[in-house]
Symmetry: C2
Subunit: 201 residues, 2 copies
């Protein structure tokens, strides 16, 4: 059976749980204590030399890393990966946007707010993180004003990738009220059969 | 004919030129003056609301953004995209690594060194950028000690994505001498038929 090595509070790990539940696949979840050094052990680094969660274990000893590459692997034979080459490329375009222009601001702001003490010097980064995060949210809003999902009419792994840290952006200090189309998109995803919230174990 | 809107000095744009040359595809290159506001014009933002190069124009009015998604689109029916699903996922895993853990340090250090004046405050970021960039280079070196390319025996778009900013890392202050397997990998790519250097117009 597929195993996921992940941390429940991580949006990147939640992406993997979310697709497995949506596709009704069986899997085993191994919780990794990242704050306690769980990604720094020799055993973990043998699975992923980059020392990051999530890691997918496909069969014993056969690993895959990077949350969005894991989404691709799990989706490729499902309706979550489009039929047309142009749409497939657009799915990946939004997924690279997520990792380059969204996660480094929206997820990092949440991480700073949630996990660092009140006087931590990294809190000085918050205004910049929030400003750049809002740019990403506005681009998403503009797209969703004319499209139900990131590839148009069909739900795909681009939506899962972007949902993970967008739906909990409030924890990083982002107010989603100015983004009505984006909030409707969040609701469309939360209504899907098999949807699980991030805190589910 | 395919059009590329790009900036020659950008590694992300060079990826697109490189694959088009390696696959012997015809294309038209439109140089964008990024420093002069070329990505901020209404005309450009209509092609890519994120205001970034490169942009691929597949047919008139049909655009694709994000360099690594463009690589996927151009490679999907070529030997640069593997036959096996597991290898395809690994290609994407390295490409997401490139955008999240490599480009933000190695390309940004180069950009600060090359394009900002000597007293610019962002130069204070350089020690951190260089430290994190070396982590990415060491992960690549470790992988390449046992593998000719990032997916093992076969050259793929993961190699093109990682080559773009690695081969010019010296311009960002990175010494590549401690990475012999990586330097051999650079040479293997530079020996390919159709290879063009970054400065080619």
């Amino acid at each position: 059976m597929i195993k996921v090595y992940g941390m429940t509070a991580s949006g990147n790990c939640y992406k993997v749980r979310m697709i497995l539940e949506l596709l009704h696949k069986k899997y085993e979840w191994r919780e990794i204590d990242v704050a306690g050094g769980g990604t720094r052990s020799a055993e973990f680094l043998a699975m992923n030399p980059a020392g990051q969660v999530p890691v997918l274990e496909i069969t014993p000893g056969r690993y895959l890393t990077e949350s969005n590459a894991i989404l691709f692997y799990l989706a490729e034979d499902s309706p979550l990966w489009p039929q047309s080459r142009y749409e497939r490329a657009h799915v990946l375009s939004w997924m690279f946007f997520e990792q380059y222009s969204h996660e480094p601001y929206i997820a990092v702001a949440r991480s700073v707010q949630r996990f660092l003490p009140p006087q931590h010097p990294r809190r000085a980064e918050l205004p910049t993180l929030v400003e750049k995060g809002h740019k990403a949210l506005q681009l998403m809003e503009n797209h969703l004003q004319d499209n139900a999902y990131f590839t148009g009419l069909n739900f795909s792994i681009a939506d899962i990738a972007l949902y993970a840290y967008t739906h909990c952006a409030g924890e990083g200090g982002f107010d989603l009220v100015p983004y009505p189309a984006l909030r409707q998109w969040l609701q469309r995803i939360e209504a899907k059969p098999g949807y699980v919230p991030m805190t589910a174990k």
